[in-house]
């Protein structure tokens, strides 16, 4: 197998999985130590080093077309590794304090990351499905990690039931596509449809199943019912991980499936995504206003953000795709950063109500400032990542004659101002009952710093990052030439 060097192309994944095993062994040997977390960070760093040195810039499809290595896949791998690293940083103190089994926790986190890397790194439905399951199975266990907390176990049960139903729906859709094309490769599915238009009804049915199944992972309305409960009940670092990485992976896989496999049905799926985008952002934003709990508020805000990102999928032009990728990068930084502040506060106020944030401006000035930046970015105020992300998405929508969609997006951004800004006001204008400064563990501080730097870097040098994301192709060149 390694004769043609193909094993080297998935070395980042191999390194990450091997690191997971080392972390597990370390966790079993030294139960109460922070070593597993440190090893997890080192494993992620090693994987990133391999990605940059050995795999970056290569394009190849290996192993009978089951794994695709190209710029698009590598960009997503980089995003996932960054998210995983930040999640480990915010977990270090949390895992220790709540006496979670560290070895298992970080192992599952790394395996979920491996699953996401395969999910976006393939043009074959088989690998996409396996990656999705690798991610899902790990995240079900992760969300139930607080074994003594009824909230956490309930979240895990809800997540696995809804997740398994969505997998069943995805599978049924994939089997219909396979039935039409006789192959699980997206290129063959596209060709089968191009040569025989009468197959369209079966493919439309398969497409609807896929949209419903992936919609659950993206937490798009009306498939979002699990999201607030899971993001509220599961351990906070896990919620931060799922809310960003899992959503990004679902969008990454969806872009590939629909743009490569079903370009002939573009009119159909674009219409569906436009509808989903509009209701997701509207329902998400309006429900978020009503929340009093910080994590539930962030959960509904994630539903709304999924709606914004879906605008890119609905427009599906080159420009829209790069806007989506840019937004996903920024979204990862700002959301995990915001969760770092939530976790810091959760050390003293386990209920994590928005009113618990009062006086944070005096108690932890740096974290309050960081959270302000993240929330401004989520609203979409310059010079943050969120502003340019929304700006590019709106630009793409207008360019595709969907001006009304851009207007809906802008109105939604305005609707979202009160609930984000409400948190900022609580932090600075209301006096805390207990004015003692909040002690901050180093991991949380680092995560917040990285989040701020990422959010501001994306916002201050948008052109650099747009160049990076517009260099990648969702549809590999050799596939578009085949038609």
């Amino acid at each position: 197998m390694p004769v043609d060097g193909s094993l080297g192309l998935i070395l980042p994944e191999i390194v990450l999985a091997a690191a997971g095993m080392v972390v597990l062994a370390a966790g079993l040997t030294w139960r109460q130590s922070r070593l597993p977390g440190v090893l997890a960070i080192l494993g992620i760093a090693a994987s990133a080093a391999v990605l940059v040195n050995r795999v970056w810039g290569q394009t190849a499809e290996i192993w009978s077309g089951t794994v695709m290595v190209d710029g698009y896949a590598n960009l997503f791998k980089a995003i996932f590794l960054a998210v995983a690293a930040m999640t480990v940083l915010v977990s270090l103190d949390y895992v220790h304090r709540n006496r979670l089994p560290a070895g298992e926790f970080y192992l599952l986190l790394l395996l979920a990351t491996v699953g996401m890397m395969f999910m976006t790194g393939s043009l074959n439905l088989l690998t996409i499905y396996l990656g999705l399951e690798c991610l899902s199975l790990a995240s079900y266990s992760l969300s139930g990690m607080l074994r003594k907390s009824p909230r956490s176990t309930e979240a895990a049960l809800k997540y696995i039931l809804i997740g398994a139903v969505s997998s069943g729906i995805v599978l049924f859709g994939m089997s219909l596509l396979f039935g039409v094309a006789g192959s699980t490769h997206l290129r063959d599915i596209a060709q089968a449809l191009a040569h025989n238009g009468s197959l369209a009804p079966v493919l439309v049915a398969g497409m609807m199943f896929l949209i419903a199944g992936l919609g659950v992972k993206m937490a798009a309305v009306p498939f979002h019912m699990w999201a607030p409960d899971v993001y509220h009940g599961s351990p906070a670092p896990v919620a931060a991980f799922l809310i960003t990485a899992s959503e990004a992976a679902a969008f990454g896989a969806a872009l590939r499936i629909f743009l490569v496999g079903l370009p002939a049905l573009a009119d159909e799926w674009r219409t569906v995504f436009i509808v989903l985008a509009v209701i997701s952002m509207t329902v998400g934003n309006i429900t978020a206003i009503l929340q009093t709990n910080m994590r539930r508020m962030l959960a509904y805000s994630a539903v709304a953000q999924a709606g914004y990102i879906m605008v890119g999928l609905a427009v599906a032009s080159d420009r829209a795709v790069s806007a989506m990728l840019y937004y996903l990068m920024g979204y990862a930084f700002m959301t995990i950063g915001a969760f770092a502040v939530v976790i810091l506060l959760g050390r003293q106020h386990p209920s994590e109500e928005i009113s618990d944030f009062k006086g944070l401006g005096q108690r932890a000035p740096f974290f309050a400032l960081a959270l302000t930046i993240f929330l401004l970015s989520l609203i979409g105020i310059p010079p943050t990542a969120g502003f340019f992300g929304k700006f590019y998405l709106i630009q793409a929508a207008v360019g595709a004659d969907l001006t009304w969609l851009a207007v809906v997006m802008m109105i939604n951004s305005i609707i979202s101002i009160p609930y984000y800004w409400g948190v900022v006001r609580t932090m600075y204008l209301r006096e805390a009952d207990d004015k003692a400064p909040l002690p901050a563990p180093a991991g949380l501080r680092w995560a917040a710093v990285i989040g701020v730097l990422g959010t501001l870097a994306l916002g201050l040098f948008p052109d650099t990052f747009v160049q990076i994301v517009s260099a990648v192709q969702v549809v590999p060149a050799w596939i578009s030439m085949a038609f």
Binding site: L125, L126, Y129, L130, E133, L137, Y140, S141, G144, R147, K148, P150, T153, E154, A156, L157, I160, L161, A164, V165, S167, G168, I169, L171, F172, M174, S175, L176, F178, G179, G182, S183, T184
Partner: protein, 102 residues
């Protein structure tokens, strides 16, 4: 399979899928819901096998094997979670759900 037309399998698979989905939506016991979900997965696996036979390719066989493997892993995690939930609640709750299992 000689004698049986392909749409027989397609209809069977669709029926299984709908029964599974209805089971998830109607029943409230997590155990029965997991079983219904397995039915949905089984429907998809059957569909893959049917099409694999029709096309004469191994891809569908491989896919359905993987569905079975992943389904087993999913069931393991699901059952572990259900046991965990029974443990954190009082005994009456466990009895209720045991009654439903029969």
């Amino acid at each position: 399979m000689p004698g049986m037309p392909i749409h027989g399998y397609l209809v069977l698979s669709a029926i299984l899928f709908v029964i599974g989905l209805a089971g998830v939506l109607v029943r409230r016991s997590p155990l029965v819901m997991l079983m219904s979900i397995e039915l949905m997965w089984g429907a998809a696996a059957l569909l893959f096998l049917t099409f694999a036979r029709q096309w004469g390719t191994m891809a569908g066989h491989v896919f359905s094997f993987l569905i079975i493997v992943v389904g087993a892993a999913e069931a393991a995690i699901g059952l572990a979670l259900i046991v965990l939930i029974f443990r954190t609640r009082d005994a009456a709750d466990v009895d209720d759900v045991r009654a439903l299992r029969g």
